[in-house]
C-alpha cells in the first residue's frame, strides 16, 4: 500500500482514549471549533431584521379590501452579522465534497467546478424572467439549445426534452412519452418491467403514470435476467426500465438484445441514466437501442447537489418517441440565427407532445453550469472522465475484495462503482456500523443498503475527481474499519464518536413526528 503522501506531513493516529471525551465538560457545550447552534426561533425576535426597508405607513392607501393580515405570522429575524454566523456555524456540521471524499454510490459526488458557479451568476442568466419577450432572451434560448445538442450527441439520440426538474421528473417524462406513443397508436398497455435492483424512483414513476409494475429478477452475476425478460415479454408490456450501468456497478451486456426483444413486441426501452458518468463520452446509449433516458445534470455534469437539490433531468429520446416530448421546446429558427421558444398549447404547435410538466422551461441555472462543465471538458475530457471514474472504481474494488465480501467481483470489471456486502461481519455488526465508523475516520460513507439485491449492500462510487493518493488513503481507512467489523469490534456499534452528533433516534422521530418548531409552553 502506498503511503498517503510520500514527502509530506502525516497525521498522528489518535490515541485510543481520545482527549475530547476525557476532557472537562464545557459550560457552553461547545468543543473549541465544534460549536453548538440554536434554532433561529430560539435566538431571533419578531422585531429584529437584517434588511433596511421603509417603515410602514399605517395611513397609506391600500387595495387589500379587508384581507389584511391581522395575526402575527410567527417569524423571527436576525441582523446580518447574526445571520451569517448562524449559517456558518450550521455549515460546519455538514460534510461536503469540498471537505473530503464522498463515495456515495449512484450519486456521483464529483468536484463542482467553481467556474460553473460564476457563469450561472452572470446577470444575463441569473436575472432574466422566464416570460420575458423572446427577443430579449436569445442568449438563454441559445444555451438551452446548445446543451440539448450536446446531450443528443453524447447519447446518440435524436430528440431531447429539457424541462424536467430532476432525475425522477425526467423518468416521469420518459414514461409519459412512452404512454403517449402507445395511446397515439391505440395500443393500451398496462405493464412496466423493472429489475429488482432498480432505484425506487423507477417503480414509483411507473405506478404514478398508471402502470402496473412487475419485478424482473437478477442473475447470480448481478445483471438483469435476459431469459426472464424474454419469457415475460408480451403485447401488454409497455416498457422495460433498466439502469445501465446497473446499480450493482455492472454494464448490462445483454442490453442491446433486451432492447431488440422489447421492440419486437412493440414495447419501449427506458434507460435510467443515473449512472451515465461511467460511459459518458465513450458509449452512446442510442447505439444500445434506448428509446428514452434521463440525464441527471447534477450527477454526470457536476451541478452541485446542494444538500438535496436542485437537480435537473433532461430526457433524450429515440426517433420513435421524440415527437411526444413535453412542451416547451427550444427551436433554432430556420431563417437566420435566432432561437424560438415553443410553449403554446395551440394545436398547430402542440403536435403530439404529451403536454407541459412544469411552469417554465426547466432548470436554467443548472443548464448554464452543465454546459460550462461540458465545454471545459470537451469530447476528449468527457471520455477521460468516464475512463478515470471506471478506473478509480475498479481500483477500489480490487484493493478491498480480499477482505470484504464483493458479491460480483467475478462478474468482470465494475463500471464507475464497486459493490460490497456485510455477510462476513462478526458480533452482530452490520453495514450501518461500518458506515458510522467511516464517519469517525473522516469520510462520508458510501451508499448503504442499496441495491436491495445484496445483503447489507455498500456501494462505493469514487468518481474521477479523486486522486490516487486520496483513494489510497480511503482504502487504508476502509480496510481498517473492515478488519474491525470482521473481528466483531463492539465499539463500532456506538460509532460515530467524533461527529457533531452521535447516532440519532429515528424511531422516536417517526413515532411522534415533530416537524416544526413550537414555542415551549409556559
Amino acid at each position: 500500500m502506498n503511503a498517503p503522501n510520500k514527502s509530506g506531513w502525516k497525521p498522528e493516529m489518535s490515541p485510543a482514549e481520545d482527549g475530547l471525551h476525557n476532557g472537562p465538560a464545557t459550560t457552553t457545550g461547545n468543543r473549541a471549533l465544534m460549536l453548538e447552534e440554536p434554532l433561529i426561533f430560539e435566538i431571533g425576535h419578531a422585531e429584529t431584521t437584517g434588511v433596511d426597508l421603509p417603515e410602514i405607513d399605517p395611513d397609506a392607501p391600500n387595495r387589500l379590501g379587508g384581507f389584511e393580515r391581522s395575526k402575527p405570522i410567527g417569524l423571527v429575524g436576525l441582523t446580518e452579522p447574526e445571520t451569517v454566523r448562524h449559517y456558518t456555524r450550521l455549515s460546519r456540521q455538514n460534510y461536503g465534497i469540498d471537505l473530503g471524499f464522498f463515495p456515495l454510490g449512484s450519486c456521483t459526488m464529483k468536484h463542482n467546478p467553481r467556474l460553473n458557479e460564476k457563469v450561472a451568476r452572470l446577470p444575463g442568466f441569473a436575472d432574466i424572467h422566464p416570460l420575458a419577450p423572446q427577443q430579449t432572451v436569445q442568449g438563454a434560448l441559445q444555451v438551452i439549445h446548445e446543451l440539448g445538442d450536446w446531450l443528443m450527441k453524447l447519447t446518440g439520440m435524436p430528440g431531447v426534452a429539457m424541462s424536467p426538474k430532476a432525475g425522477a421528473h425526467g423518468e416521469l417524462c420518459g414514461i409519459l412519452a412512452i404512454r403517449a406513443a402507445h395511446t397515439a397508436r391505440g395500443d393500451a398497455r398496462e405493464v412496466v418491467l423493472v429489475p429488482e435492483s432498480a432505484h425506487g424512483t423507477n417503480p414509483a414513476t411507473a405506478a404514478f403514470a398508471g402502470y402496473k409494475v412487475e419485478d424482473i429478477p437478477a442473475t447470480p452475476e448481478g445483471r438483469v435476467d435476459l431469459e426472464a425478460i424474454k419469457a415475460r415479454l408480451a403485447p401488454d408490456v409497455a416498457a422495460v426500465m433498466i439502469t445501465n450501468p446497473n446499480t450493482c456497478g455492472l454494464f448490462e451486456k445483454d442490453f442491446r438484445e433486451i432492447a431488440d426483444a422489447v421492440h419486437a413486441v412493440g414495447g419501449y426501452v427506458y434507460c435510467d441514466g443515473a449512472n451515465f458518468n461511467a460511459i459518458v463520452g465513450r458509449v452512446r446509449p442510442g447505439d444500445l437501442g434506448v428509446d428514452a433516458m434521463h440525464i441527471n445534470l447534477h450527477k454526470t455534469f457536476s451541478t452541485p447537489h446542494g444538500g438535496g437539490g436542485p437537480g435537473s433531468g433532461p430526457v433524450v429520446f429515440s426517433e420513435a418517441l421524440k415527437d411526444f416530448a413535453p412542451l416547451p421546446i427550444v427551436r433554432k429558427l430556420q431563417d437566420g440565427d435566432g432561437y424560438e421558444l415553443v410553449e403554446e398549447e395551440q394545436r398547430e404547435h402542440r403536435g403530439q407532445s404529451f403536454g407541459r410538466m412544469t411552469a417554465f422551461h426547466g432548470q436554467m441555472g443548472m443548464f448554464t453550469r452543465a454546459l460550462t462543465y461540458m465545454l471545459s471538458h470537451g469530447a476528449d475530457g468527457l471520455k477521460q472522465v468516464s475512463e478515470d471514474a471506471v478506473l478509480n472504481a475498479n481500483y477500489v474494488l480490487r484493493s478491498l475484495e480480499d477482505i470484504l465480501h464483493a458479491p460480483f467481483a467475478d462478474s468482470g470489471p465494475c463500471m464507475h462503482e464497486a459493490l460490497f456486502g456485510d455477510k462476513d461481519f462478526e458480533g452482530g455488526l452490520s453495514t450501518l456500523d461500518l458506515a458510522k465508523a467511516l464517519i469517525d475516520e473522516g469520510y462520508h460513507p458510501m451508499t448503504v443498503y442499496f441495491p436491495l439485491v445484496v445483503h447489507g449492500a455498500m456501494l462505493v462510487e469514487p468518481t474521477e475527481t479523486e486522486s490516487k493518493a486520496a483513494l489510497d488513503e480511503f482504502i487504508t481507512a476502509f480496510r481498517s474499519v473492515t478488519e474491525r467489523a470482521l473481528a466483531g469490534d463492539e465499539s463500532m456499534k456506538q460509532a460515530p464518536y467524533y461527529a457533531p452528533r452521535r447516532r440519532l433516534d429515528e424511531t422516536a422521530a417517526a413515532r411522534k413526528p415533530k416537524l416544526a418548531w413550537e414555542e415551549p409552553e409556559g
Binding site: 405607513d57 379590501g65 416570460l131 425522477a168
Partner: protein, 454 residues
C-alpha cells in the same frame, strides 16, 4: 485537464493493480456495436477556464437582464432584491457540495436548516406542517391534487379559472395518465374573482377545489367561502400561492380554511434564473394529514447522548422504501433553494417581511394609479397585492409588450402569452411591481405605454 487529478503514471499503476492492460479492458462488457473509436466527433475538445467563460459570456450578453431596465414581469416569477449574504451562505461548500442528508450525524447543518425552513413555510401559510420542498409551484400544485385524491378517494379536481394556466396545464398533463378528471375553465375577465362560478362546479365527486391566492390576474379571492363550500361537499380546498411576499400583507390561506397550501417560493432568496431552479412549497393545515404528504420531511429527535438533533423522517411514504406505493416519485428536491429561502426569510423576519410586503403594495398602487391616467388603459382589479391587470382598450397586449421591449422596457406579461389565441383576453396586460421598482421605472413604463397606445 484541470479537473482530473490522475496522472498517466497513476493510471498505469492502477491498471496494473486491477489486472488490465489498458482502459479498454475495463469496458469489455460493452458490446462492439456501441464501442466508439475515439472522442465523439462533432463536439469540441476541452477548453481553458478563460475560453469557456468567454464563450458563456457571449450568450449572457445577448440577454436583457431585469436589473438593467424598467422591469414589470411577474405571473409566477418575481424580481426581488436578494441580500448579498444569501448568496454568500449558499456558496459555502459545506452546503453547496453536500448531498441529501442520508447520514444525519454529519448533515446536521442541512437538517437544522430544513427544520427551520419547514417552520417558516408552515407559519407563513398558516399551516401545521410543511415539507422540505418540491421542485416548484406548478409541480407542487399537481402533488396537492394527487394528495387530495388519496385522502378523499375521489378523482375529480375542480380548478379555478384564475389558476396560473401553466399550473393548470401541469395538472392536466398528469391527470391524462392517472385517470383523474380535471374541471377547469378560462379566467373570467372581471373585477372580482368568480367565486360563485367556481363553487357551482363543486359536486359530490369533487376531491378538491384548487384556487390561486392572489390569482393569476392579481385579484384576491375570499378563501373562507370557498373552504366552506368545498368542505360542505366533502372536498378539500387547495390554495396555490405564487408570490409568498403577499402573505406578509394578507391573511394566510390556512387561517381562511385551506386544507393544503402549495406555492412557489422563488420570491424569497431565489433569483429569476429564466424559470428554474425554483422552490416548491407544500404544507397541510391538519397535522393528521402528514402521512399523505409527498416529499421529504425533517423531524426533531435526540442522539445517543441526549442532544437535540434532526433527521429525515416518515420516509416510508417515499419512493426509496415504498417503491410503487409511494406518495410521490420525487427524490431530489430543491434543497439549496430552500436554504436561500431560509436565509432570506431569517434576514427579513416578521418585521422585514411585513415591511417588504407593504412597500411592494405601496409601489404597485402607485403604478396602477399612474397607468390609469393613460388614455386607453383601464385597471381591471378592485383588489390586488403587487400585481394587477390592465386592459389596453382593444390593443393586442403581446404586440405592445414587444414594442416596449424594443424600447428597453420590460412592461409586463400579456395574457395572450399565457392564453394564446383567446380573443377575450388578448388586450390584457399583467403588471408586477416590487420593491426594486423605482419612480423612474414607473414613469418609463407609463411614457412608453402611452406612446405604444397612441
Amino acid at each position: 485537464m484541470r479537473y482530473l487529478p490522475l496522472t498517466d503514471t497513476d493510471r498505469g499503476e492502477m491498471l496494473a493493480k486491477v489486472g488490465a492492460k489498458s482502459i479498454d479492458d475495463l469496458f469489455v462488457d460493452v458490446p462492439e456495436v456501441a464501442q466508439l473509436d475515439g472522442p465523439i466527433h462533432d463536439l469540441p475538445m476541452h477548453a481553458s477556464e478563460m475560453a469557456v467563460e468567454r464563450h458563456m459570456k457571449t450568450r449572457a450578453n445577448k440577454n436583457l437582464s431585469a436589473g438593467d431596465t424598467p422591469f414589470f414581469l411577474g405571473a409566477g416569477a418575481y424580481r426581488h432584491h436578494i441580500p448579498a449574504s444569501v448568496d454568500t451562505v449558499i456558496q459555502r461548500g459545506e452546503f453547496l457540495t453536500a448531498y441529501t442528508p442520508y447520514q444525519p450525524e454529519i448533515a446536521q447543518g442541512t437538517l437544522q436548516m430544513l427544520f427551520e425552513f419547514q417552520t417558516q413555510v408552515a407559519r407563513l401559510y398558516g399551516c401545521a406542517v410543511a415539507n422540505a420542498s418540491l421542485y416548484d409551484g406548478s409541480t407542487a400544485c399537481w402533488e396537492a391534487v394527487a394528495m387530495a385524491g388519496r385522502m378523499t378517494r375521489r378523482k375529480r379536481a375542480v380548478l379555478s379559472g384564475a389558476l396560473h394556466p401553466h399550473y393548470a396545464q401541469v395538472v392536466k398533463t398528469m391527470a391524462q395518465f392517472t385517470g383523474d378528471t380535471i374541471a377547469d375553465n378560462l379566467p373570467a375577465i372581471q373585477t372580482e374573482p368568480d367565486n360563485a362560478g367556481l363553487m357551482s362546479r363543486i359536486d359530490d365527486e369533487t376531491s378538491c377545489v384548487v384556487v390561486q391566492y392572489p390569482d393569476i390576474l392579481g385579484r384576491i379571492p375570499d378563501l373562507s367561502e370557498l373552504a366552506e363550500a368545498a368542505h360542505a361537499k366533502g372536498a378539500l380546498l387547495v390554495v396555490v400561492n405564487t408570490e409568498p411576499v403577499a402573505l406578509g400583507a394578507i391573511k394566510s390561506p390556512g387561517e381562511m380554511g385551506a386544507d393544503i397550501v402549495v406555492g412557489e417560493g422563488q420570491s424569497i432568496g431565489v433569483g429569476l434564473q429564466f424559470g428554474g431552479p425554483y422552490l416548491g412549497l407544500f404544507a397541510v393545515r391538519d397535522p393528521k394529514h402528514v402521512r399523505q404528504m409527498p416529499g421529504r420531511l425533517c423531524g426533531e429527535t435526540t442522539d445517543a447522548e441526549g442532544k437535540r438533533g434532526f433527521v429525515l423522517t416518515l420516509s416510508t411514504r417515499e419512493q426509496h422504501i415504498r417503491r410503487e406505493k409511494a406518495t410521490s416519485n420525487i427524490c431530489t428536491n430543491s434543497g439549496l433553494c430552500a436554504l436561500a429561502f431560509n436565509v432570506h426569510m431569517t434576514l427579513l423576519g416578521e418585521k422585514g417581511l411585513r415591511e417588504l410586503a407593504t412597500e411592494n403594495h405601496r409601489l404597485a398602487c402607485k403604478t396602477a394609479d399612474r397607468l390609469e391616467q393613460i388614455p386607453g388603459v383601464s385597471l381591471l382589479n378592485s383588489l390586488f397585492f403587487n400585481e394587477f391587470t390592465v386592459r389596453l382598450g382593444g390593443k393586442l397586449a403581446r404586440e405592445v409588450v414587444r414594442d416596449l421591449a424594443d424600447k428597453g422596457v420590460l412592461g409586463g406579461v400579456s395574457l395572450d402569452r399565457l392564453y394564446p389565441g383567446v380573443e377575450a383576453l388578448n388586450d390584457a396586460l399583467l403588471v408586477a411591481v416590487t420593491e426594486t421598482t423605482t419612480d423612474e421605472d414607473i414613469e418609463a413604463l407609463a411614457t412608453t405605454l402611452e406612446e405604444a397606445l397612441a
